[in-house]
Symmetry: D2
Subunit: 410 residues, 4 copies
């Protein structure tokens, strides 16, 4: 008799696996092949890599009868798991034209069939947890697929051109501030019934000084005022490394903005059109978020402050569907844009990575990155949490990142 | 009534245009999208660029009724013609996923239809010459397509792996030498009935000291002896820039060779298999050709010497079909591998580039390149001449290049 | 009548200024000119820059009669103060041969004379604080001078060669651990009678989980065991960025170690000789410190933990003279080697940089750096504090950095 | 009894050796230490390297009793002679502060004494030739010293500033043209009584089509007209590689020109002052010379044409002293500026490098360089010849290079 838990797990597995293919369906084999910068991976690579993850961490150790389609896939689709074996060079993923898009689909079917067989039998808790991890992992890559294809298409003058009709602009009131007293707070979570990544663990205490946090994200209109006030020409507003990068790459706006005549346009996955000043500003680096905050007389929150506020607000992931761009929403802790925090991505006190190669998932990146909290419009529903720690290098801009301000109060 | 010359020209046009599509047909949309290094262009880009060439230099100035499919194509498919307008960055051709492979086919049909219409009417000689130039240009790109896709596929461990059966090895005798006396010779050609590029013109005189030239190309077996004698470890054999490049890129063999166990394998467009010592050594840079020649106690010929010898031998392009790799042929002035010469690619005395943007075709590259003479197995039949000057930078190896030795005699 | 405070301040000024010249005296004009990497500045540049600091932040705003020696010095000797004006490119300091070493001495005399004049009159508290800041700043550069000249000389095979006699090796016992309970602690300091940099302020609370910290630094002998156990060949021990850097630069030991035959030697400012296993390991990057700690089953302390421990130990800066290399001391919180912490260099809650260009001193570097605590043998006596926050990028190794371990306890 | 030939050779040796020191004398130890780009060497390195040349190629093989001052010098002062042994990295010469300037002087004395001893005895012809080669080599480095120190000082705003008084401008008439018929000519020379480098040999025949060559160098005034006509903004005038380099490095004038207000100034070793339109344009790359020639409706001469013209004009090196900048002279085949030719630096037919490591002197650079003919104001008197082949990469500008035009005639 089939374990009802298995039924549920299999249903979630099938659901996420098919969602990946639904997301990829609109994109041609050519679209799915290109890599526009080393940080970006081709879409068909994401489809293969997430499959490799189940093959490597679930099937290989469990299913002696499992036969890979091709031993070369183990190299091509390994991202960064040194403990598992050699990896194709990350920056050269775009040159791998084979397996093609439909061969990747066949690879996915092959692995799915094996996972179904496995779930038809008895599995131990460790396997179960790895399948859950694989599901969460694939959801992360669903978001990466959308970030990455946006970057690919934005390079193409055939695609990135004015073709989107203007929408009515929503009026936005001024930012409100929510205040919190000083005190010990609880941060992170322990391993438990509901899923968490190792980097969110363990639950621990932190002391937070009095602070206030904005009740909504910074808008394009507010960010335009920063630009108009010389934001990209005033080094005193910037961190030193950020200023150097902005100069080197000639930044004068967020990524995906274009000055057309004397009006700004924004490229989104829905096309390019006039910049809507009421929408939250998106695709800013940590450096820009930090400079904007300094210009505003405010600062970015720490991740502890963000978590304190989110817990207090009773907020949780309430968005129900992915969207290609954030709308003018007030409930924007989740589902609009990831929010940069002032916190470097460091291990929590007592952090212990998972044993084995799977321990490379998070821990080895705990340097030179900043934490982002919340989630974004392209984050799959069900894949966000109060304790979720996303992270990117401070100069990155191609993810769906935005700005929530904070400030000290007395 | 239709001009019979037009009929002939149209037939040649159709022939070359359809040949391009036949060459591309075996390759998937994914294969046709990737760019494995800045020198390489995606196959579908070649198909678009050759089409753009007719659109820009034939249709645009002649056919007021002609309508481009998309104005962005003019930028995407311009290679290096600054005089024509802006160009998409060369090194970023691989990120252009749209137009896709089938949209490029539609673009080709669109332009072909317009060229047919044009040739249905009366055209002046200048237009006729430009169509001929476009045909020759497309033949050049047919060869580039084969060079480039070979480089793309070679990066892929799924493709570049041992799978080709060994062929029987042909015995090769020792190299023979053909001697020539000192004297004034004729080099190059004038504009005339048969086609030539501007860089082959004008016909002029040169003085050549006595020399001898080898009667066949250097073989893999001979090149292996160079390797075994420390060829890649002895700086005294190398030009200074060549040694620096070889060290920087860790060269220890020609491109596309792999040491598997203690045997060498060679990757070709037919797969990878044991290195055949009787075949001519291919995919060597000028630096390697020059070092090999020095090690042999010989040198490379000048392009004048090569031309003197080829004229004397009554040789001309006699190969009748493209091949994916050179065979063990004795008649190898043409149709096996391009042959590096000691001559820098410089203007002939009296050289005058074509007027206008088309003048950028050749002249502006007359620095930092070396001349190669002859033709290769992937050169389209009918696209080689005694006076043909091919050129590449001395460190390039991805074209089908080989070695013919020469030496001074007294 | 002269203010007695001024007398004291002037004495400190004269003391530090003349100490800089004493440190530089053994080095030739040639030694003082070279820049061995962008992070390194020539010694005569340090002597000029510290002088420029007083000229720019003390004399220029205060002394209308002050005349600079040469207006070009304001550009040449500005390090990174964008708010003050243009700066000579940092990486090109080594090409500035003039002013020469003796002209820099004249520049120092010129500014010293003006500062003496200023201190002969009445000055307000802000000026006084800037002179104190200038003194502290010059002490920082005294340490930089020693770090930088060590790096310059190490590149020179005439200097960096075995010539130092072995010293008797001191026996070291095992590391002891000092434990601390969880609790709220006090970190940092407020502006007060004694000097502090803005980055140490304000005093604030932090919660610290139970931890233990080592009672001495990691030794060369212990680090050798890490190397011998494959420390530089096992990616699972390393942060991802660290592993990439170590591979790119072929690290296989700390900076300044050389394997001679089968024995390690260490280059110090006293020459090169056999590695003394009892001395603390020096010149390691954060990545190496972190990998060593992971290999040891421990971790690096946070800066809060370090400060808690140092306060508890009643430790303070007790070393009385600079040394060219750390000795085998037990009291090594200060005066031996800076100690890497797990803490990213971030602003303290409530941090406010100084107003004006002087605010660029610290705040704009609060990204991509890690905090080091304590002080080193080359730190000038009197220039260290419990709350002192030194910082370097995690890949830097040319400063006098070492390793103190910590671990969680329950 | 002393061989009178030895007396003469020793006198020439002493003369050239002391001339090097006279040239270096005005420059401080700091000036002599810096390296402003990889192509530039510090002045004290030149002084050491020329000494090393005698030590390595004359003393070491001849004088068993000779003892080097320090074995490390053999590495530090070897430029590019791989056959002799390891070399300090070229781009890192500026970090070698020791030996200092006066220690280099001691090194020179040490070697000079040994050479004197050697010349006091009997030497064979090979040794004699090597001493002559060493003398010629040192003369080449005298010129390099002046080129290099000019580049070093030009980086320094203390030195490179307007301080040179204007000179009266000499009126220049239009360029005259000297015509030559087609014909076989003689190029190069054989080894003989008078010195030649191996790259000038052997004497051989070449056929030259009819041409005319300008009777003077292009002036600053003429070059300004090119600039004013958009010379640096019109890609159609440029070779492709040249245009790319000019864009990458933002060229808009020759090296050492500065636009101050709306007037051009030129930096020379005598200081910076208004550009004199009557002087020959200096410090142009091959790319600029070629673009200027194209804009003029002319071209650069080949080296064969240059030699034909110089032989016909009966010209030879007539300048009698080095100067820091060319004056307004009519006799400018020699002694003003090196003249770019259209000829790539290739081996002459029958070229054979010297045997052994000394054969690395010239031959291994016969790729990616263009030939310059004549000599410059900073070339030591007596160090130029009709057959002299100087060479630099086409993008180099820091040598004293100018432009002489040529054109085809019928």
């Amino acid at each position: 008799m089939t374990d009802p838990d298995h039924v549920d797990l299999l249903a979630r597995y099938e659901d996420v696996r098919s969602q990946t293919e639904r997301l990829a369906a609109p994109f041609s084999p050519e679209d799915q092949t290109a890599q526009s910068m080393p940080d970006v991976s081709p879409m068909k690579w994401h489809r293969g890599h997430t499959t490799w993850f189940f093959e490597t961490f679930v099937l290989a150790p469990q299913d002696a009868a499992y036969r890979p389609i091709d031993p070369a896939y183990a190299v091509l689709f390994n991202s960064y798991y040194v403990g598992v074996g050699p990896r194709h060079e990350r920056s050269a993923r775009g040159v791998i034209t084979r397996p093609g898009s439909s061969e990747v689909a066949a690879y996915r079917h092959h692995v799915d069939a094996a996972v179904r067989r496995l779930l038809g039998g008895s599995i131990d808790d460790d396997v179960r947890q790895r399948i859950v991890l694989g599901i969460q992992h694939e959801q992360q890559h669903q978001e990466l697929m959308m970030m990455d294809i946006k970057h690919v298409l934005a390079q193409n003058p055939l695609v990135n051109r004015s073709d989107r009709a203007d929408q009515p602009v929503t009026e936005r009131g001024p930012t409100g501030w929510r205040s919190f007293d000083a005190g010990l707070c609880v941060v992170g979570c322990d391993r438990g019934a509901s899923f968490s990544f190792d980097n969110e663990r363990p639950e621990h205490r932190a002391f937070v000084e009095p602070f206030a946090i904005a009740d909504r994200l910074v808008t394009n209109g507010e960010y335009l005022a920063f630009i108009d006030d010389g934001g990209y020409r005033r080094p005193e507003l910037w961190l030193s490394d950020g200023w150097a990068l902005a100069q080197r790459e000639s930044w004068c706006s967020p990524l995906y903005w274009d000055l057309v005549g004397d009006g700004w346009e924004e490229f989104t996955l829905e096309g390019r059109g006039s910049l809507d000043p009421s929408l939250p500003v998106a695709h800013v680096s940590y450096y820009e978020a930090d400079a904007f905050a300094r210009w505003s007389g405010a600062r970015l929150p720490t991740e502890q402050e963000w978590e304190v506020a989110a817990r207090a607000l009773g907020a949780d992931d309430v968005h129900r569907h992915m969207a290609l761009h954030p709308g003018p929403s007030d409930a924007d802790l989740f589902g609009a844009l990831w929010q940069w925090t002032q916190s470097a991505y460091s291990p929590y006190p007592g952090f212990a990575p998972e044993p084995g190669a799977i321990g490379e998932y998070n821990g080895k990146f705990m340097i030179n990155n900043q934490v982002l909290r919340g989630s974004a419009c392209v984050t799959p529903p069900g894949h966000s949490r109060l304790t979720y720690r996303n992270f990117f290098s401070p100069g990155s801009r191609w993810m769906f990142s935005g700005i929530r301000l904070a400030k000290a109060i007395s």
